[in-house]
Amino acid sequence: MVLLDPLAFFFWAVILLVSLPALIYSIGYFKNKFTRAKLLTTQLITLAFIASMLFLVIAANAFVFLIVWELMTLFSYLLVLTDSENKAAVNAASIYIVMTHIGTAFLIAAFFLIFKYSGSFDFTAMSAACQTMPPLLRNWLFIFFLIGFGTKAGIVPLHIWLPYAHPQAPSHISALMSGVMIKTALYGLIRFVFLVLGIGSLWWGITVLILAIISCLVGVIYALMEHDLKKLLAYHSVENIGIILLGLGLAMVFTSLNLASLSALAMIAGLYHLINHAAFKGLLFLGAGSVQKGTGTLEIEKLGGLIKKMPWTAAFFLVGAMGISALPPLNGFVSEWLTLQAFFSGAMNVPGLLALGFALGVAALALTSGLAAACFVKAFGITFLALPRSSSAGQAKEAPAAMLSGMFLLAAAVVGLGLLAPIIFNLLAGVAVSICQAQLQTTGLFSLVLQPNGVIAISPLFIAIFLGAGLAAAYLVFYGYKVRLGQTWDCGYYRTDSRNEYTATAFSKKFRISFGFFLFPFRKTEKIKDSFYHVKSFIYRTNTTNIFEKYAYNAVLHLLYRIAEIFKRAQAGSIHLYLSYILATLLLLIILVKIL
């Protein structure tokens, strides 16, 4: 009934890694926020949500899997609705539930197609049936799984629910949804495509790689444009799912080419980034929640200077930001380095044209990583550094101890997953080997040596020690004497205030212009005059066009509304008409039964 293999244990680790800190955090976060009854309900639903995720990854039967999958969706839907008086929350929850059900429809279709051959919903029976299926059907099944799980994971262009749903939920729920729940979709992808269906043609992997590259770039570019801290983080989830999928897609490509040990390496890279993203994204969402609780806003243009009022939150957020920007010696660095190495090692062993494609993947990942660093310089710099840009930011209060301890645990995970890379690598190798049926030599205790190509080694621990030594040397030689406080240089005016500071909009302007071919930025300026000659104030608004919503989703919605208009005529409110519909249906059914 239950399936306890290395893959399931790995996902248990991911779920528990974020769930426990999130639960501790919620004690502080919910304090004085809701009535007792509402609080109790919310916490119970949260527990049920976590339990459903835990059960999902050990289900050994597609039917059970589907039911738990739906429960998980419903619990998270309710949690997005926690702030149900807020219209935005209701809207977000609706978009979320509609989008995930489109995905679930594809999953149901896929499961029933396999059932036709296997006669059972058991994974082993399904897996056996998949080997004897016509290849065309397997291709269709792959596409169904990709759409079904891709919707939940937030692969572009199915990502549109993420930036709505994540920001509306309470912060620790966002941490759970973004850090863990969207990963269960990747679990599904690994379980059903790798283990049940079995990797088929080469184009499967290539499709996943292309989608991954698009998700990376679209996610990070939209994140750069976003000035709401939680929306920004939600777009980064799209980006990071892309990076994870780069690893998984590579593993698929290598499997189709019978390069088992490379496939295992790529799988490790993907899984490593998966657990890393759970840790740092969980941490960042918790940090954003602290900022919201301390200041009452998530709009980074209204924040600033929080590092002095909320020193611990700032420090933890910085750790998360460094992790997600792939800076050594923290965890994001290890997994992005592994992914790049998987590309490098792969290029030596695949056909030339594919190797050139790998080069594009490398370039895309490097660009993504650079843009992500830029985005987190913006997010951390504007939110926490310099002077407060509003009175609410000026009167910010540090988060209570429960929230800080939740963040501390995840920050420790971000650091630990980086410094202990060789140990984590060996553990993940166990999981990857069980998926890819490969032999993989494990590496040493201090440095991570990649076997397929020999001598490439890296050790975040050593990097940390060298950095520390350099830092200490510089400190001893250059510091340890008196410094003087002075005013910031402002061209001699000596009236620096928060209005002199650079804003997030200005920070991202270069990117807005450079990626204008995709973002379609527009701006509106308005002069408010108190006389013909004197301009009292000036309003400047700038925004970008979301092409996915404008051209794809709104077009489909428009079409749906028009079809609904046509069907409306049949439902005119006359009881006689409805009775005749029932009669007609009955007759139709009788005729059908007679014929069949």
């Binding site: 030596m348 660009l367 650079g370 830029a374 310099a386 350099g470 270069k510």
Partner: protein, 273 residues
């Protein structure tokens, strides 16, 4: 043991000679412009002078501002350590220094710092793909024999170096004009020893990149390593004298060109030319 000694020697050589490279470039540039120019040891004197002055810390800033020079220095030195082993890791290590420098620039709360910070991150996000692809190309052609790959990769890396060492046409070290400065804008609120440390780190990073390029073109030019370094220094000086600064929005075009050169290097590596 010998390996350890060699590593220490390598680090101390690069660290010790880093200001000299800057001095040489400045001198060659000045001579090309028919000026007498400063002595090639001037950067050492500048650093010494700055070390004697007191540090003024902006009152709005936080500990990020004070720790940044140390981190930037540590990353530059660590990058040298990995020079021959693991090029890919270096890109990430240098990114750490840049991340903190960009944060520190925002920390003082002046618009200049913000400008520098934003421009630096903008440029660097286009530099990283080119740098990674150059490393990819080198990875595909191990060994150091003459090849087209090395030539193309070297050219691509040269553009990367112009960006990373804040040279024309991407940045200009000789001006403090707010319309143009990138790296200087980030350092604007630093003074005394912190400034010395940051400038020193930038010089170390510069020599590190020159060493990397020298390693690539050495087999091409059939010259000893030291001559290759000198050659690169002269080429950079000529480029700086002969070219005007690009508009910020033209910089990505140049860097995309570097990406394309690196892609061509990869193509030639795959074809085995």
């Amino acid at each position: 043991m010998t390996k350890l000694l060699l590593t220490i020697l390598k680090i101390s050589l690069v660290v010790g000679l880093a200001p000299l490279a800057s001095g040489l470039i400045a001198r060659i540039k000045n001579n090309l412009r028919l000026r007498r120019g400063q002595g090639i040891l001037q950067p050492y004197r500048n650093l010494w002078k700055l070390c004697g002055k007191e540090d003024i810390i902006p009152e709005n800033s936080s500990w990020i501002f004070q720790i940044t020079p140390l981190i930037v220095f540590a990353t530059s030195v660590t990058a040298i350590l990995f020079l021959t082993d693991n090029l890919l890791a270096i890109i990430f290590i240098l990114a750490l220094g840049r991340f903190f420098l960009a944060l520190a620039a925002l920390d003082a709360g002046s618009a200049f710092g913000g400008m520098g910070s934003s421009r630096e991150m903008f440029i660097s996000s286009f530099v990283e793909p080119a740098a990674c692809l150059v490393i990819f190309a080198l990875y595909l052609t191990p060994g150091s024999t003459w090849s087209l790959t090395h030539l193309l990769a070297g050219l691509s890396l040269l553009i990367v170096i112009l960006a990373e060492t804040t040279r024309l046409p991407i940045d200009n070290q000789e001006t403090h004009l707010e319309l143009t400065m990138v790296h200087e804008a980030m350092l604007l609120d630093y003074s005394g020893r912190s400034l010395a440390l940051l400038e020193f780190s930038a010089q170390i990073k510069q020599l590190f990149w020159f060493c990397l390029l020298a390693g690539i073109i050495c087999p091409l030019a059939l010259l000893p390593y030291g001559f290759c370094l000198l050659f690169i220094i002269i080429v950079i000086a000529f480029i700086e004298v002969g070219i005007a600064k690009y508009r910020l929005f033209k910089v990505p075009d140049l860097l995309v060109f570097a990406v394309i050169l690196a892609l061509l290097a990869i193509v030639s590596a795959l074809l085995g030319v």
